[in-house]
Amino acid sequence: MPPTWTGEPCDGASGPPIQVLDPSGQFTADPRFPVDLDDGDLLGLHRDMVLVRQLDTTATALQQQGELGLWASSRGQEAIGVGLAAAVAPSDMVFPSYREHALAWCRGVGISGILGLFRGITNGGWDPAAVGLAVPSIVIGAQVLHAVGYAMGQQLDGGGEATAVVFGDGASSQGDTLEAMVWAASFEAPVVLLCINNGWAISVPAARQSRIPLAQRARGFGFPGLRVDGNDVLAMYAVARAALDYARTGGPVLIEAVTYRMAAHTTADDDMRYRTRAEVDQWQERDPISRLTAHLVDCGLLDDGALAELQHESQRLAEAVRHEVRTMPMPDVRTLGRHAYASDTRASLVPAGVPVAPPAPAVDSAVRATALSAAHG
């Protein structure tokens, strides 16, 4: 299928964000961004959003019970990750932010992969190459350059694949994000830059980062920008799909997904210090899940029985999450020093006799320290 969207910007300079489902679930096709999904796909998107919401709710509760050190909720933003994940090819690469649990879920990372970081047992719970998803970067903006570099590599390897990267409205101000736009344009890298504008960077409103729609930032770098309703999973899918197809040969595309961070920044945040309950409530009406539910019920794809079944599946997931979190193995203190450096396999550059400082003492001191704690503590 030839790309349907051929690169003309649709970045909020005129008109509202691209939408396929309106908040009541009404469907309006946009010929440039076709939704080429069958009924099973639609139900799959719905199911993923519901399950990710459940995972989020359960994780929030687990944090309150002290089982997780922290949780960054993606509540209300599920449509973005789910839509993007449906649009990328399995061989494409995705670079997430710390909040995109939906992406991790859909890429198949699994519960302990997603939650291990928040339980403090790992700084990155999976193999990027194996799942086609990088481990999240916590340093804001850093991953956008990584994604562009990865896309340059895809291009060097002959093309056809694409990369997508997710970052926030706050991240749009960071030098690394902006340099990534320069690089992406300069090398025509096959990359989709997806900026999730959820209105806030912790307590700072998006207006502090840009006075114009963030999708327009692409104009300054000479590539197209698209502004999409981030609470509309079908629009997210269709726009991401079109952008990825374009990117494979046409170079970078910026997407701004307009949404709202329904929870506080993290469980450590108190959002009522800087925004009102009324503002939050207003966005409740635009909930991405109820919107798709309404549509699917309208179409006759979902009925009460199916919804109840989904409800059960969701409860089973919650149970699994609680169980997995509580039974996650403590990392072994003896592995502490093991991953700082590669043991050299390509040639014996470091002979056994030479005291290689870091790994060895690291392990020793760690073990000694734990031993000490046991003895004295």
Binding site: L117, V139, R208, Y274, A340, A362, A369
Partner: protein
């Protein structure tokens, strides 16, 4: 005298500075309505307004780079970096601009910028929220680096740092933010002890337990978040008849080596403690300087109890990474066992 947490003491210090000098600005991510993620700037926005307490866009180089321009205009910006691990995007502006502008202009352009950084580990945080970046800054000429360990020092040192015409990297021991201590909010700048001066506390064994240098004495040099742990180790050591002098450096660059030397001349043994990785850390500088200056006085090699030379681990393992009281005590024992 008020009893305040360290977070609150810093808050009061900033309030005094904003009140006393209209050129003082507070700027950074979330310093306004939120009051900073550790509430150090709580209430300042409503008291001084958005022209004095500035929520910036998200970019650390932007924060420090615009602060340089504001300083050139005569302002005295106090910049907050949200967490230790996020100071690195601003590293270029700090080491190539902030640190060098005075020298570059042959003293003509002062750089009265304070960069506040909540630092250190031990709070169970995710990656990049537990770093101890002091060595990078202490290695950079032109910067001052300070690291208070108590609410009273925090209150005093933030005020002194803001008053100084030099740039100051002001590290705040984040796991001590809620520790309480006495603060003298009416203190005048002129009456305060020198910003540079270390503090030495001598802990002697209880009556009935033998106390006698040189055989059973040791100095522990520490700063910021490890002072509390050093004190704990010191107290445990006195139980076993050891006299301990705990030197809280407070200033890491320039460094009050005189106090360290004086202590080592009394105790003849030294343990240096910090959380940052040991390799080319502050402990190396202190051990090297003391080994040079007190060559004949030292009865045992200087021991370093420091962070491991690996990236900061996931937080469930940080207890094994950090210089706990137990590891400090272990090192004290080693210096006493030596030679």
């Amino acid at each position: 005298m008020l009893t305040l947490t360290m977070s609150r003491a810093l808050n009061e210090g900033l309030r005094c500075a904003l009140r006393d000098d209209p050129r003082v600005l507070v700027m950074g991510e979330d310093v306004g309505a939120l009051g900073g993620v550790f509430r150090v700037t709580d209430g300042l926005l409503s008291e001084f307004g958005p022209q004095r307490v500035i929520d910036t866009p998200l970019g650390e180089s932007g924060i420090i780079g615009t602060a340089v321009g504001l300083a050139m205009r005569g302002y005295r910006p106090v910049c907050e970096i949200q967490f230790d691990g996020f100071v690195f995007p601003a590293f270029d502006q700090i080491v190539s601009q902030v640190a060098k502008l005075r020298a570059r202009t042959e003293g003509r352009q002062p750089m009265p910028i304070v960069v506040r950084i909540p630092a250190g580990g031990g709070i169970g945080a995710v990656e990049h929220h537990s770093e101890s970046p002091e060595a990078y800054f202490a290695h950079t000429p032109g910067l001052r680096v300070v690291y208070p360990s108590s609410p009273s020092d925090a209150f005093r040192m933030i005020r002194q740092s803001i008053a100084l015409d030099d740039p100051v990297i002001f590290l705040e021991p984040k796991r001590c933010y809620w520790h309480k201590g006495e603060v003298e909010p009416e203190a005048e700048l002129a009456d305060m002890p020198p910003l540079l001066a270390a503090q030495t506390v001598r802990l002697s064994p209880q009556r009935g337990v033998a106390d006698g240098p040189p055989r059973y004495s040791v100095s522990i040099v520490c700063y910021g978040p490890t002072v509390e742990w050093a004190m704990r180790a010191a107290e445990a050591a006195t139980q076993q008849g050891v006299t301990v002098e705990v030197v809280d450096l407070r200033a890491l660059s320039p460094l009050d080596l005189g106090s360290v030397e004086a202590s080592v001349q009394r105790t003849h043994r030294l343990v240096v403690v910090h959380e940052a990785p040991g390799r080319v850390g502050l402990g190396a500088e202190i051990a090297a300087a003391v080994s040079e200056r007190c060559f004949a006085d030292l009865y045992a090699p200087v021991q370093r109890v420091v962070g491991l030379d690996i990236p900061y681990p996931p937080n469930r393992l940080e207890g094994a990474y950090l210089p706990t009281p137990e590891r400090i005590l272990d090192a004290v024992a080693m210096t006493l066992a030596a030679a």
